[in-house]
């Protein structure tokens, strides 16, 4: 898959772009309706999202929790800032590991692209150090699975 693009921009931003074969209305819904979110926003294989609460209006609360089924997990909380269906969602979020991480300001745009959608997600961190820590930690979640995979990958290369 080469569809996803992820790049740093300026001192504090991370920009992710991805195309989808569905119109903005559908992609927008899939980012807001808990029953849909719980089917895809899961991270590494084997993880589930037992808690998916969001109050989709400006100022409304976000509370997501993930579990690896073996007692491990983490959560994020946040608030919506702006909702412009079906083109734009702005929210802030922070991870609880369990101490809260600095606020991550996220603007997600959905633009028509032929019969599909071009999504652009811009994450803005408070400063360069926070962004570097976030990238260095691989977002810090579900990383056990990541470690195992990375280890297997490096073993395969060095054997």
């Amino acid at each position: 898959m080469t569809k996803l693009k992820l790049a740093t921009q300026g001192d504090t931003d991370i920009v992710v772009t991805r195309r989808f074969a569905a119109p903005p209305e559908a992609v927008y819904r899939a980012h807001l309706e808990p029953a849909l979110i719980q089917q895809w926003m899961l991270g590494p294989d084997g993880w589930t999202m037992p808690v998916c609460i969001n109050d989709a209006r400006p100022g409304g609360a976000i509370h997501y929790e993930w579990s690896n089924g073996e007692g491990g997990g983490f959560s994020i909380t946040g608030e919506f800032i702006a909702l412009e269906p079906p083109h734009r969602i702005v929210h802030v979020e922070r991870m609880h590991l369990p101490d809260p991480t600095p606020d991550n300001h996220v603007e997600t745009r959905f633009e028509p692209d032929g019969t599909g959608t071009l999504m652009t997600m811009r994450m803005t961190l408070p400063d360069t150090e926070t962004r570097a820590a976030m990238l260095a930690s691989g977002f810090d979640h579900g990383m056990e699975a990541g470690y195992v995979r990375l280890e297997a990958m490096i073993e395969a290369v060095t054997d």
């Binding site: 996803l4 991805r18 989808f20 559908a26 899939a30 895809w40 260095a136």
Partner: protein, 111 residues
């Protein structure tokens, strides 16, 4: 670089944050201790782990021993970035499936 010690070194959030700071340039123990609100001996212990793992090197500059990140550590960080990309890619590949199912539902409702 010893892979086992590199992985256990990277398994600690403070050590990853120290590496992230050193990715921006060389720093002394005192400069590193400040943003982490940790004592210098505590930072020094983390640095020892990172040095043993081959992720940082230290040089002698008078009474100071500034730390810098090694090229192999930068490779590790690139791999973390790759993993973030992979986690997001996995999510969005799943979303493709969800969107296809939504489209089918909608067609059923219309027909």
């Amino acid at each position: 670089m010893h892979l086992d010690s590199a992985f256990s070194a990277l398994g600690d959030p403070t050590r990853r944050a120290i590496l992230a700071r050193l990715a921006l340039g060389e720093a002394t123990v005192m400069e590193l201790a400040q943003p982490f609100a940790m004592s210098q001996p505590s930072i020094s212990r983390h640095l020892k782990v990172l040095e043993t793992a081959g992720l940082i090197s230290r040089r002698i500059d008078g009474s100071k021993r500034p730390c810098r990140i090694t090229p192999s550590a930068i490779t590790e960080i690139d791999q973390w970035l790759g993993m973030l990309r992979k986690a997001l890619a996995t999510n969005y590949d799943r979303l493709d499936g969800v969107l296809a199912a939504m489209n089918l539902e909608e067609r059923k409702e219309k027909s």
